[in-house]
Assembly symmetry: C2
């Protein structure tokens, strides 16, 4: 008594090709808009599978992509895993040495690469790291002048193969996908997705508790297809029989507005900066957004102003979601619960929508405090979010060190420190490594930063926990003042501001003025540098923490 077939991507491809043969897949390319149907897509995916097989790709071989969002990239999404190989989507924005590490670690056999990204890949190329790579396939109809060998173009690669393929029955633990986390510290960690994980994640994104995707939808993933499978949207859209719109390389807000208008996009998805850019564009330009029903925002917290503006000015719902590479990636979605539209003010509704949201159907979570116990759901106490479920990984690829620290039984320790309110809404308050542990209680560095950065005299600020003999850690604020601001006034102003919003013991023990906040390669604050610099506690020597520090209460 088990299901007649394993959970694989095959039935999604079958259903789209057979029941929605006329629905379209649209791509913005350097040569203009290209469109074809699921019926043609299904045939091309079969051709790709035939070509891969003929190229010696078999069970468990890794096939990589180094591409933007377009139809050919989407063909690899089904073609590679459904013939038994594993699709490894490489982030082309990584520094060369990370790309080298990733290709070598994954032992990729073939790399599909966009013409516009071929120079970047060529610059990362070195013989040792790329030793496993048999060939490069450029996503074009003829081979451009690239410095990669041996190389062919995609259309030639698939041309001679039939448009039907005898898709195998795959085991459900067959490796199907792979993505590396672009961690801010240390080497990227590989996360593998089995056929079953992708199946389960896809099924979980379709319902109302997920992203509510149906055949009527026209879905435009702006989130790159090398970021956790564009949050799974190409799979979800196919499973639903929806129309796909791929915005191609480096779309501008004008490009996105035009695609929404021309193709009748109902749902799109990406990080907050994309939508800030779109709002700015729409302030200055006319575009018909009437087809657009919702924008899925993830990757970082969506400003409440963005949620409000899309709602009030464009009647577009911002669907705030949270996830991780380790979770395929969707974990929470900030939908309102029954009755909230009537019971909450519009502003309170935006507050709910601005949180990371409710755990989707099929997962379980707990929030674990510093003492190892679960913290109460009161919107105030916080702890590290742990999750488990059928699309949550239990290990990193060849990383026993990380496996030791990041998992506990079948729980993934997400590294995100959160509160959960009485209604069950998760809100991220910090990363676990950045939270400040003071006297047995936790202080959110992120909340302090947000408050301090709201001060008129502050250009940039970050807050770091520095070691303290008595209190374990105490917060120190590093501030880049705006030009011409009086530092003494600024310091007392910042302290007053913090005290007005938080318990006194959250007040930073010291305010340090610096010229620039150190940043990582991807532009995030690099607190590690500051932590190392102030690791000897000399900074706060002789200080005593505020008199109402938690241990004394």
């Amino acid at each position: 008594m088990v299901g007649a077939t394993n959970q694989t991507l095959r039935p999604f491809l079958w259903r789209a090709g057979k029941l929605f043969p006329d629905r379209e897949i649209v791509s913005r390319t350097a040569e203009g808009i290209k469109r074809y149907t699921y019926a043609e897509y299904e045939g091309r995916v079969a051709q790709l599978a035939g070509a891969l097989e003929d190229a010696g790709i078999g069970d468990g071989d890794r096939v990589a992509t180094f591409c933007w969002n377009h139809g050919r990239h989407f063909e690899t999404y089904f073609g590679v895993p459904s013939m038994g190989a594993q699709l490894h989507t490489i982030n082309p924005l990584l520094p060369d040495h990370h790309i080298q590490y990733i290709v070598e670690n994954a032992e990729d056999r073939i790399i599909f690469v966009d013409p516009s990204l071929a120079p970047k890949l060529a610059s990362a190329y070195d013989e040792t790291s790329f030793a496993s790579v048999d060939q490069f396939v450029v996503m074009a109809s003829e081979v451009p002048d690239v410095d990669l060998e041996p190389v062919t173009d995609y259309e030639s690669f698939i041309a001679e193969y039939p448009d039907e393929y005898d898709w195998p029955d795959l085991p459900e633990d067959q490796p199907a996908g792979m993505c590396y986390t672009s961690g801010t510290t240390g080497k990227p960690k590989g996360v593998e997705y089995s056929q079953q994980m992708l199946w389960a994640h896809t099924m979980a994104t379709l319902p109302q508790a997920g992203l509510d995707i149906g055949a009527d939808d026209v879905i435009m993933p702006v989130v790159p297809m090398f970021h956790v499978n564009a949050w799974g949207l190409p799979f979800s859209a196919t499973a639903a029989g929806a129309k796909h719109v791929y915005p191609g390389p480096s779309p501008t807000p004008a490009d996105l507005a035009k695609l929404i208008e021309d193709e009748g996009v109902t749902m799109t998805a990406g990080v907050p900066t994309v939508w800030l850019g779109l709002l700015e564009y729409l302030d200055e330009n006319d575009a018909d957004m009437s087809s657009l029903e919702r924008i899925v925002i993830g990757g970082a917290a969506a400003p409440k102003s963005v949620i409000r503006r899309f709602d009030e000015e464009y009647d577009v719902e911002v669907v705030h979601a949270w996830g991780m590479t380790e979770m395929s990636p969707v974990g929470t979605v900030a939908h309102l619960k029954p009755g909230m539209e009537d019971e909450l003010s519009t502003d309170e509704q935006y507050d709910k929508r601005g949180m990371q949201g409710l755990l989707v159907t099929g997962l379980e979570m707990r929030v674990v405090g510093d003492d190892g116990d679960e913290v109460p759901w009161n919107g105030e106490d916080f702890g590290e979010l742990w999750v488990r479920g059928p699309w949550v990984t239990t290990e990193y690829f060849q990383r026993p060190d990380a496996n030791e620290t990041d998992f506990e039984g079948n729980w993934l320790k997400t590294g995100d420190v959160v509160t959960v309110d009485e209604d069950g809404y998760v809100k991220i308050v910090d990363r676990a490594k950045d939270v400040i542990k003071s006297g047995g209680e936790w202080i959110s560095s992120v909340e302090l930063e947000n408050t301090i950065m709201a001060h008129d005299g502050v250009a940039e600020a970050t807050v770091v926990g520095v070691p303290h003999e008595r209190w374990q850690e105490r917060p120190v604020a590093f501030i880049v003042p705006k030009k011409g601001v009086d530092q003494d006034e600024l310091k007392s102003g910042v302290v007053d501001l913090v005290r007005s919003e938080f318990p006194k013991w959250w007040t930073p023990d010291e305010v340090v003025f610096i010229e620039e906040v150190p940043k990582t390669a991807t532009g995030k604050f690099d607190k590690k540098v500051l932590r190392e610099e102030y690791d000897d506690a000399s900074l706060i020597e002789g200080k005593t923490p505020d008199e109402d520090a938690p241990a004394e209460n």
Copy 2:
């Protein structure tokens, strides 16, 4: 690289209890309406699990129910499988000897029984068949006077156990559910559901392509909970955080109308006769149906008039679905595809909605003709529907004979003969055992019957294939004429009617007048009796089939 946890029912219970603690579960009982919340439900389910464990129930033990639709029955849905046992829902409408066979075959350890059904169970009781049964638990707060031993009442059974339970990590192939098909011939066949099958089926019912269930829904399953888990709705509603409404024993149309009105039911589900009854009630009585958005109709084809009337008079969408016990059960749902609301006339839309519909996401199908090849999707050619997928079983419980005939590789041969139209909509035209195979082509006995029964002079009719030396089989019509009808006129009238609607070679070779169509225990036409009676071909001796029979064309 596998999911962190197996696919089980546990996360559904967790999510409803933790994220929707205030949503209600409402039951119509002999003592009036009872209601409690998911928070209380979760506690009671934990109590039940503790009680079962204490009663010696462990991994894989079967626990049976013999109950109508109510909250306590719903408690067994999660309590039994989530603690590692297997929930076996017995159909109390079966004849005693079937109940005996089923209890003995399943080796049930405990039977939960409604007070109103206890006499029926007592009448079926015999020591040999019920040898495995340790005890009976009556679904009440005190033990009524029943002839079952040893017996306790449900509230006493669970009373002393804590409202928390340490739910185990179960393997995904752990047996979780069981249901016997009430076949019209032979012994009932047991179908088992693993944790994974129930998980996958639940996830497949939630999206728009399934039944589109969300937290805002108020779901009333009228389909009995002993019929394939009430089509899975108790699981689906919980997974979504929806409100449940259980109509209790033998609800009248007035009861259903009142529950819809009082509880704000948004979705309900049952066989066509229930909804015909509701329509008749509403013709004569006032009731507020404004909360009701959709009715899922399955179990038999919904008359187009029912679809039309609910739409036009009550703005309620009839969602026609098809499934089987072997499929957990949902297989197809007749949603309109993108654009159809604009492109098709209202009548054509009803035609689409009246078919069995489109295969839901996650399954695959083929339609196999008599020659073993797939038939084209043209709405005319027909063949047997085969399906496969993660919630389709691959075997019957201890029935190697049936396993031999009803499966082909990982395909379930459904026994339903269908057409598929150009849009992919499945329409059942006959049962495989009833289809008439004539000269290498198939004739639908059901379509002939429907046409013949539309004749004014016909009270009842059935069409059976009888053996034929040259054509393999030929159709013979058995007609119960209305009183006082001239038989010769009727015969030629029926033949003319059939010829006006079907190819000439579909015309029955003979029309036989009978006094009554033989029926099975459940009221279906028992064609087997007629087939046996006319098995010697004497009936059609000397006849030649119509000159344009298919083999000559």
